[in-house]
């Protein structure tokens, strides 16, 4: 139930990205953001299917992929549980880095920059540094 509330899978059938990869990416995203952490149970295949209408085999395949990467582990009869977190201290809701970024964004807005301008600038700097 915990996982179900925190990970709300959204499938975009037209994206061209394989459905199971979309699931994998969304779980990783949730792990990165710290929305789910070690010990949390992922939604069961049935829960995901009931919400998204996708093939349960796809859900199982995504979970197998996450298991292969060592992120989750199945516990027979109980479900699939998160093994390790991908969250780094910087991305948590109350981290100072996040506060800095918020501040920076507010300034950009005051300067009259639009979403696309911010995105372009952010991406340019991101590419420069990473």
């Amino acid at each position: 139930m915990e996982g179900l509330r925190l990970i709300d899978f959204r499938i975009d059938r037209r994206s061209g990205v394989a459905t199971y990869l979309q699931l994998v990416n969304q779980v990783k995203q949730a792990l990165r953001l710290g929305l789910v952490g070690p010990g949390d149970r992922l939604p069961t295949a049935k829960d995901v299917v009931a919400r998204t209408g996708i093939n349960p085999n796809t859900v199982l395949k995504a979970y197998r992929e996450l298991e292969r990467e060592g992120l989750v582990e199945p516990r027979p009869g109980l479900g699939t549980f998160v093994r390790r977190s991908l969250a780094t201290p910087g991305v948590a809701e109350d981290s100072p880095l996040r506060g800095d970024l918020l501040e920076w964004m507010d300034r950009a807005r005051q300067l009259g920059m639009g979403r696309e301008d911010v995105e372009a600038l952010f991406r340019a700097v991101l590419d420069q540094r990473f």
């Binding site: 061209g16 295949a45 093939n55």
Partner: protein
Amino acid sequence: MSDPGVAVRAEGLGLRRRRGWALRDCSFELPAGSVTALVGANGAGKSTLLKIAAGLLRPSEGAVATRGSVGFVAQDKPLYRGFTVAEMLRFGRVTNAEDWDDTYARQLVGEAALPLSAKVNRLSGGERARLALVLALARRPDVLLLDEPLSEMDPVAREDVLRTLMVAVAETGVTVVLSTHVVSDLDGVCDHLLLLDRGVVQLAGEVEELLDNHRVVLAGRGDLGDHQVILGRGGEHRGTTLVRVTGELDVPEELVSAPGLEELVIAYLRANRGVAA
């Protein structure tokens, strides 16, 4: 069936009709718990294949074996028009005896919000399809065969039907085969593909694997060496080509992309027709 992982196995299946073969030399295996899209143009033999697998038609040659009980929803979802929803459930109960799970049937009818006292001919197309699906599911089949379950259905009904079906797959592990001639309906729903064209299996296998084995290349067929060209549009050294990859492609990476399911299916259907549009 010897291999417990196989739910449906066809071997050399053929059906001869007065005007020729409706189905010929069909051999394939579908693993238990898989959801297969049976794709092909109208008249490709999809309904024939499903009816044979459901035991409603006898093949002229070969055989199809299914593991466990088989549920079938025919094209146009036939139901008794004058019956109410409750009477259709009673139909299921009396024609299936102990194979019928009445609790499950009522649960599914409730989820579909079908009023028990409504007459079948007052239901919408989508509601009728869901009722037909309920009748098939409540028998708790091991293999469920659905002939064009989504045709003439609005997007909401389509999503509801697929969701019901997928939940059933998740709950019971039922093996599903759905036929369609609109491939995009089933993108993301199916994990296996069975492509029929004029009674012959053109392509069969796991969707991801099939997509992995094929590439769309921005080059002519002359540039592709030993790879099997499925369909080329354009000339010998330019154009778009769909190839079945058998090793490394000797083509710059930026010219290569993965095909979508629909693209793949259409390429095979076109190729077989000898029409390079």
